[in-house]
Every structure is written in C-alpha cells, then in structure tokens.
C-alpha cells in the first residue's frame, strides 16, 4: 500500500461510495415503499366500495331488474367506482352495466359479446379459486382480482355468490390513482454531506492510521444508515396511518351510501349490512383493522406498525451490508488494485471478454438463478410469479437447506428391526458414495488392466480389440442401460437364466436394495471401463521405451518397472481422469433413472435422480434447487480437496 493516494483520501472516497450506495438505495426503497402504500391505499378504499356494491347486488339477486336498479342507485350515490358491470354465468349475460359504451343497443341486459370473453373467463377463474380454497381449506388462490386499468386506475373484479355457489361476477373500475407522494432528496443529501464532513474532521484528528480510519468510516456509515432508516420508517408509518384513516372514513361513508341504496332499491333491512367485512384482503378475509363503527382496532394496528418497522429494518439492513462491502472494497484498496490490473492487462481482458460474457450469460446467470431459487419456496403453483417475488413473497431463507441437511431421521427402529428412510439425504448420499467409489475403482482397475494388455508389443489384432473395447462407450448410454435392465429381468433375463442353468433360484434383482444397486453398478462398470482404458492406453504409449531399457540394464524386475516407471508416468493423465470420472459418476443420471429407477422405494436413488424427482414429480422447484446446490457444494469440496491432495492438474 506504499503507492497511490493516502489512507485518509482513500477512506474518504470509500465512505462516499458506500454512502451513495447505502443512502441512495435506501432513498430509492423509500420512494418505492411510499408509492406502494399510495397504491395500496387506493386499492383498499376501492375494495371497500366494491365489497359494499357486491353486497347490494347479491341482495338484489344478482340478475334481473332489481339488480339493475341497485347498480344504478349505487352509481348515483358513489362516483368512486366507474364502469360497474354485473355478469351472470348462466346464459353468458351482462345483467347490468354503467360503462359508457354499454348504452343504446349495447345496454344491459344482453348476451356478452365475443370481445368480452376475458370478463367471463375472469369470473370463471374466481369461481375456480373459491372452490379450490374451500376444498383445500386454505387461502391459496385470490378471490378478488385487482389489475391496473387502461385509464390509469384499477380494475377490480369480485365473485357474486348465490346459495354458496358462484353464479357471476361484479367488475368495476376506479378513476385514475392519485399521484404518488413526492419524497424529498434533501434529507439524504444532508445526511451524506454531514457524514462526509464528520469523517473529514475525524480523519484530521486521527492522521494516516489505517485501522483507526476504517473504524471511523464504519461508525459514520452505520450512524448515517441508522438516521436514514429512522427517517424512512417515520415516513412510511405516517403513510400507513393516513391510509388507515382513509379506509376507516371510506367504510363509514360507504355504509351511509349503502343505507340509501338499500332504501332506494328496496333491498330489505339496512341494519343487516356487514360493513366490517368490507375492508378485506384479496381472499375476502376481513382485515379487522377497521371495525364496523369505523374505529381503528389499536392492538392490531400496533402489530401492523411493528411489522412495517421490522421489514424496513430488514431491507435497509441489507443495504447497509452492501454499503459496508463497498466501504471495505474501496477503503482497503481492492478496487484500485482491480482497476490497475484491468488497465495493465487491457488486451488480455479485451480478448477474453466475449468468452467471459458468454460464460456469464450461459453459465453463471442460470447458476445464480438456481442459487436464488434454492432460497425460495417456488413450486408449480407459483412458477409464473415475477422474478421479484423470489426475494419477497417466496423467500424462505435457509429453510430448504435446514430441511434437507437438518433431517437426521435416516432410520427408525421398530419391532421388525431398522426401517430406513430412503428419502433422507444422508441415505441417498451414502448410496451415491458407494455407487461412485465402486464404479470409479472398478473402472480404473479394469481400464488399466486392459490397457496394459493391449499395450503389449506385437499383440495380434490389436486395433480390433481396441474397437471392441471402446464399443460400449460409443453406444448411447441409455440404450446400454435399457439392454442391461432387460438382462436383469427376473424371468427372462440372461443372468437368471445362467443362475438357473447351474441350479440356482432366480433372483428378483430390483426387489432388494443390494441387488438393485448391484445391477446399476454392473451396468455402469461396463460403461466406465472403456474411458479409463483409452486414457491409460494413450498415457502408456507416451512412455519412452528408453526408460524400460535403462531399467532392464539396471536389473529391475517387471513389477519394479511397473511401480517406478509405468505408474508415475500414468499419474498426470490418470488423476484428472479420475477426478472427472468421479464427478461424472456422482451425477450419472441415466443409469440409475433407467435401470433401477430408484427401486425399491427410492432406496437406490442417487442425489441427482432424487433432485430430479423433487423438481419434476413433486414440482417443488425451490426445494429441488436447494438439493442441487447441496450436490454442487459436495462436488466443489471434493474438487478442492482432490486438487490439494494431488496437485496433479497443474501439469496439464
């Protein structure tokens, strides 16, 4: 750290960079949060009106003249909702409409036109959602749909129920949303300036001591982020409070209007309305914050405020961590070193850029996506959710990993002895290790043995042997797998025929874990020998004959020659081959999937086939991604260890 700018300057730059990142992101998040609250407020107020309207329409029977009267009265009372449309599924009819287009010969009641299919489909979707939620006893699918309307407002749709079944739909639009509140930049800029000034003053006092400067910068950053966080929380909380007052006012106003509508359209007793249920979420569950009398439930509200504070803290905390990373990165000179390297090897980076870019796009991004997925709870049902949901709604943190790795119920002891839990990762890992070790050991041993034989000088018909031995490798391995599966058939397989020839009883290969795994290993052994043989043969042929000649002159035996010349010469070729082969075998999907298919009862599954089953049979994408990350971690650890132990890959 001798050259370059002084420590104090560097830390000042680092602090500015960190503050720009931390405070800037916080400000951006605050603007977004306020816009969201603004939107949510408009939505909640509109929902109150919509729910009141639905209650009126349901009272009016959902169809016929009474419904039209109720809708007209409601529209006259309240201008908040425009384009009210009531659809009855029966006869695909538009029962009532206040939309400006639906006048004259398009006036309700009439049959829905072709271009109104989305409206009908929306109703059917809501019906299916309600039936699904009822069947599953849960709130999984939204029972009220809210989307942005063409005019800049909201388009809402709610189901219309009659005697417990959904018979239609009420769709409305709102006037354009009020603009989001303007969040000033003054506060963050002041914080930034004050922070830098404080650091500068402290830096003069501290001098050029790196540790002390780092500490000062850290303290200033944390305090600044804390201030920004408090400020943001206050503003969001104020927004939320004003939302709640707005909703409470809406409930009271809507109740008064509803009473008028009830009277005007003669819809029975106005005292029997349910205004407490009007402030509800998308599953039509009353939020309960605003009571029937329009008063706020303080206890619930306090809980709500606590949740908001916690979520603000979480978001800003993560920004603070990011800012801290920037501080360290710049402050300790990593950034300037990276810049220097980039400048120095400009050409090299320019040449590798296309490849790097390609790798980034084709390898790292999907990999990153997989890792992000592993922290989420994505399943088939949520697979079309926007990518941002992965970090919010679907985020489960480390839950998938703790579920996978923290489940130690490998076996339970019962009266009948140990019962293994074949779905447990440690069982599957054990099987995978047995599978890998056996296969690679056999492949290397047998491959080397065959290569040594084929390497005999003057062996007759050597090219033919080589072709024959390479054939298993040349064949698509799923064909080999299926042929071998056939050979292990209980009644007609060749192995049982041979066993019977010698008077044995036929084995039901896929009935027991041991025999089932044996069948898979036998199949893969057949496939893995040729590769090792080719590698060994190539390496053998590159060993100079002079070495053996010299050894013979010195009186070395054949065994000594093998140990001191052949094996060491093979090592640079064999070790990478073994590493590769371990990784391939570890993830050898085809053989297990096709030969045993995990039978009996998932016991011969290896990790990769198990991950496949989680993803594509159980549709638990997040869990399967986490499973895959675990596989990756295991292989990564193995690769690092292997490299350390051998150092052999350096030579190639």
């Amino acid at each position: 750290m001798s050259q370059g700018p002084s420590h104090s300057r560097r830390f000042a730059a680092a602090l500015v960079a960190a503050l720009v990142v931390g405070v800037g992101l916080s400000q951006w998040a605050l603007v977004r949060a306020r816009a969201k609250e603004n939107h949510a407020r408009a939505e909640r107020v509109a929902l109150v009106s919509l729910n009141a309207l639905v209650e009126m329409v349901a009272r009016a029977g959902g169809a016929g003249e009474a419904t039209r009267r109720a809708v007209t009265a409601f529209a006259r009372e309240s201008s908040a909702l425009t384009a009210i449309r009531v659809v009855a599924f029966d006869g695909l009819s538009l029962e009532a409409s206040t939309a400006s287009a639906d006048t004259g010969d398009r006036a309700a009641p009439r049959r829905l036109a072709r271009e109104e299919k989305p409206l009908y489909d929306q109703g059917q979707r809501l019906r299916a959602a309600i039936e699904t939620n009822r069947q599953e006893g849960a709130a999984r699918k939204e029972e009220i749909e809210v989307v942005p309307s063409a005019s800049g407002g909201l388009a809402l749709a709610a189901p219309l129920e009659k005697d417990g079944s959904v018979v239609g739909l009420v769709a409305v639009e709102t006037s354009p949303l009020p603009p989001a509140p303007i969040t000033g930049w003054l506060f963050p800029i002041v914080v930034l300036l004050v922070a830098v000034a404080v650091f500068w003053a402290a830096a003069i006092a501290v001098g050029e001591r790196r540790g002390a400067l780092a500490l000062v910068a850290l303290v200033v950053l944390v305090v600044a982020m804390f201030a920004v966080g408090r400020h943001a929380n206050t503003m969001v909380a104020a927004d939320v409070r004003s939302s709640e007052s707005a909703v409470a006012a809406a409930v009271v106003a809507e109740e008064a209007r509803a009473a008028n509508v009830v009277q005007e359209a003669s819809l029975g007793d106005a005292r029997l309305l349910h205004p407490a249920a009007w402030d509800a979420d998308h599953f039509r569950r009353p939020l309960g914050i605003v009571g029937a009398d329009g008063k706020l439930d303080e206890a619930r509200r306090a809980g709500e405020m606590g949740r908001i504070a916690a979520s603000t803290a979480r978001v800003l905390g993560s920004f603070a961590v990011l800012a801290l990373a920037v501080l360290v990165w710049v402050g300790f000179g990593f950034a300037s070193r990276l810049g220097a390297t980039l400048r120095k090897h400009r050409q090299a980076y320019a040449y590798t850029f296309p490849a790097l870019f390609g790798m980034l796009l084709l390898v790292f991004l999907p990999f990153l996506y997989g890792v992000v997925l592993s922290f989420s709870d994505m399943s088939l049902y949520t697979s079309q959710a926007p990518i941002g949901d992965l970090f919010t709604k679907l985020w489960v943190g480390l839950k998938n990993f703790t579920d996978i790795l923290g489940d130690f119920h490998v076996a339970t002891s019962t009266a009948a002895g140990l019962v293994w839990n074949y779905q447990n990762i440690y069982w599957t890992l054990g099987i995978t290790i047995i599978w890998t070790v056996t296969n690679v050991a056999y492949g290397v041993g047998m491959g080397l043995f065959l290569a040594l034989i084929l390497n005999t000088k003057g062996l007759l018909g050597r090219p033919y042997y080589r072709v024959i031995f390479i054939l298993p490798w040349a064949m698509p391995n799923y064909i080999t797998a299926l042929i071998w599966k056939g050979m292990f058939h209980q009644q007609f397989g060749v192995f049982n025929q041979i066993i019977q020839m010698f008077g044995g009883t036929p084995v039901s290969w896929f009935e027991k874990t041991s025999t089932s795994l044996f069948a898979c290993i036998a199949t893969n052994a057949w496939l893995s020998v040729p590769f090792m043989m080719v590698i060994s043969l190539g390496a053998l042929q590159s060993i100079s004959a002079d070495l053996y000649e010299a050894a013979r002159v010195d009186g070395a035996t054949r065994w000594q020659q093998f140990r001191s010349i052949t094996l060491p010469s093979l090592k640079p070729a064999l070790v990478p081959a073994v590493i590769l082969s371990v990784i391939w075998t570890f993830n050898m999907f085809n053989i297990i999937y096709l030969v045993s298919a995990g039978e009996p009862g998932h016991s011969t599954e290896i990790l990769i086939t198990q991950a496949y089953k989680f993803a594509f049979e159980q549709y638990r994408y997040g869990y399967a991604a986490a499973y895959s990350v675990v596989i990756f971690a295991i292989l990564l650890a193995y690769g690092i260890w292997q490299n350390k132990v051998t150092k052999a890959t350096e030579g190639i």
Binding site: R140, Q384, Q490
Partner: protein
Amino acid sequence: MSGHTRLALCAAGAILASLTAMAAPPVELVIWHSYRGGEATAFEKVVAKYNAAKAASGVKITTLPVPYDALADKITAAVPRGKGPDMFIFAQDRLGGWVEAGKTIEPIDFYVDKATKDRFLGSTVEAMTYRGTLYALPFNYKVITMVYNKKLLTKVPKTTGELVTIAKSLTDASTGRFGVAYWYSNFYYHAILMNAFGGGAFDASAKPILNCEGNVKSLDLLLKWADKDKFLPAEPSTALVTALFNDGKAAIVFSGPWFLGEIAEGIDYGLAPLPTVDEAGGKPMRPWMTVEGVYITAGSKNKDAAYDFVKYVTDVEAAKIMALEGRQTPANKLVYDDPQVGNDPVLKVFRQQVETAIPMPNLAEMSMMWTPASSAMAAIVQKSATVKGALGQAQKEVVESVKLLRKVQ
C-alpha cells in the same frame, strides 16, 4: 362493347376491388403436434382441407411437429413468455399443471355451445375440464382393452370368472405359456381393476385415496390371480408382454392401441372389451383413458380464428380422416355412425370400451402419485409388503407431497 356494359364491368371491377381490400389480412396460425407416420399424414390432410376451404378468408394453418417428449415442456417454457404456437395437441395429464401455473392455456367455455359439447363422448370432455372450466376440445382417446390371439382363444371371456378358467387352462409355466399377460405391476394398467372396485388415485375433491378400500380389494384380487391361479408371468413389462404375445405364448393381453403396432405379422388377433369383475359385483373393468385435446394457448393473438379451427378439427369430417387414415380413435361420437368407422373391427371395440373408461385425473398432483404408487405396486407384487401396508405408506407419501405443494404462500 356498348357503353352500358362497359359501365357495368367497371362497376363490377370496383366492387371486386373494394371487396378484396375489405377481406381480412392474411392470418397465419401455428399448431404444434407430435404425430408421426400415418397420423401425421392424416392430420396434414385435415389441415390442407381446412386451409383450402378458408383460402378466401386469409386464414392459414401451419403445422409444426414437435417430439412428444419435448412438446409439453416447450409449451410450459415458451407460452407464458409470449412465444410458442396458437394451438397445440396434447393429452390431459399436464392440463392441471398448466392451469395452476397460469398464462399457458386459454379457457374455451365462452366459445363452446351445447351442440358442440354434445358431439363428443362425455368422458372425453370431462378429461379436458379442470375445476369446472373447459380448456380444450377432445380430439381422440386411448384406452386399454382386451387383445387376444384368435388361434389360442376359442371363447372370449366376458367375466373374470370365465377369464380365470380359460386363462388357467392355457397356462403352462414349464414352457413359459400364460393365459393372460399384461403389465399388472404398473399402476396405470392396474387401474382397470382398481377403478372397477371404485378405487382410484384421487376422489372428487382432489384428495388422494390410494389406500381406499377399493384399491385394497383390487390388489387382493390381483394377488389371487398371480399366486393362486398363477396365469400371469412374473415381473411383467411392455417388452415382455409383447414378446410373449408375438411368440404365441400369451393368449390374452390387456393393452391399448399402442400395442397393436407391436404385434408381429402373422399373429391373428382380435379385440374385445375388458371383462366384468365378479368380485366387484359384476362391475366392468374400467381403464383409465388418456385424451388428446386441441388447446388454444393463452398468448395467441387470434383466438377466435384458432377456435374455428379447433372446432373444425374435432368435427365429423376431420374425425373420419383421422380414424380411417390416421388410425386414431376419435373423441367425436358422431363419427362412429359412419359405417366405415363404426364397423371397423378395431375402432368398434375401442368405442365400446370407452363406455366404461374413466379419464385419468388431470390434476397437477397426479405426477406425485406415480412414484409412490409404483413402489407400492412393486412391493405388493413382489410380496415384500402387505397390500394395506404398502398402500398406506404410498398414501402417506402422496399426502405429504400434496401438502407441501399446496402450501399457502
């Protein structure tokens, strides 16, 4: 040429020109299918007919064959992102998953009138319906039926009682001859018995019912056939069943239309509906039915035009071509009134069989059923577990998987 005629001609020309200008701009619709061989040729013929009839309106259908294994996944990946075809043909097994994931297939209830709905075999429409909404018009169906070797079988069994008697007399374990061969250890094939006893995979409210009483009884019956009556080969598979039948070593096979293509030249075979099950009070065996439907994708820009084609391709004219030339079993029931189709010895039997068939569940959760159910089937057939124990275990696994998937976010 007189002035009048010239004027008239000019007027006619102007009208023609304006008509052409008014005609809809050319619309090209793409449909993906996975047909090969005769099915593909027949399908192309249907499409060509439609295109010829629609030449004036500017609508043109283009077909794109996609390998069967890849088609569904391509649809899942492409359509929600605004790519992919306007229509495609696929079976009902992925239907539930597509609906649950969203943005993939278009509901068509709005288009379909009663007359259109009524022209199909009822259960095929049911297969295309998910949670009360119709998502495709059924095109054809496949069911398991009874295929027998005419040389070996003199009397076609109508009940399981007759089946057992006949099968036992035709079985000779020492020479590897079997009265009946089918992939009974497979959950799909076993459904013929399971459904006869009122069992199945899911109940009407989409709850797993693997360990229900009907399933237990059906397996008890299967075990009786395998162990006591001993007319079934051990460890059955499609390859084994085909080999046995082609060697004349199996008199009766329970399989679907895919099996007919595997039968060797020179084997004189016949088809008959599956027998009734005495043990289930004379109820018929009820195979699971796979129905291929013509779907409209959610991203299609021309859904009205697409529906017009979907309607045409499932109508009698197209169904006849697909039946006679493509050797499909159409879901359109009116086509069987045509003597050429109705009297076809193969199509006739499948048409009879469909009366007792029930559509295979189109729930997304069905894919979670296969592995536990297959394991249970294997364990039961190989006697490594009791019927109740194995089914109970499988039920537990499925319930757990379903719970984890349906978890509320």
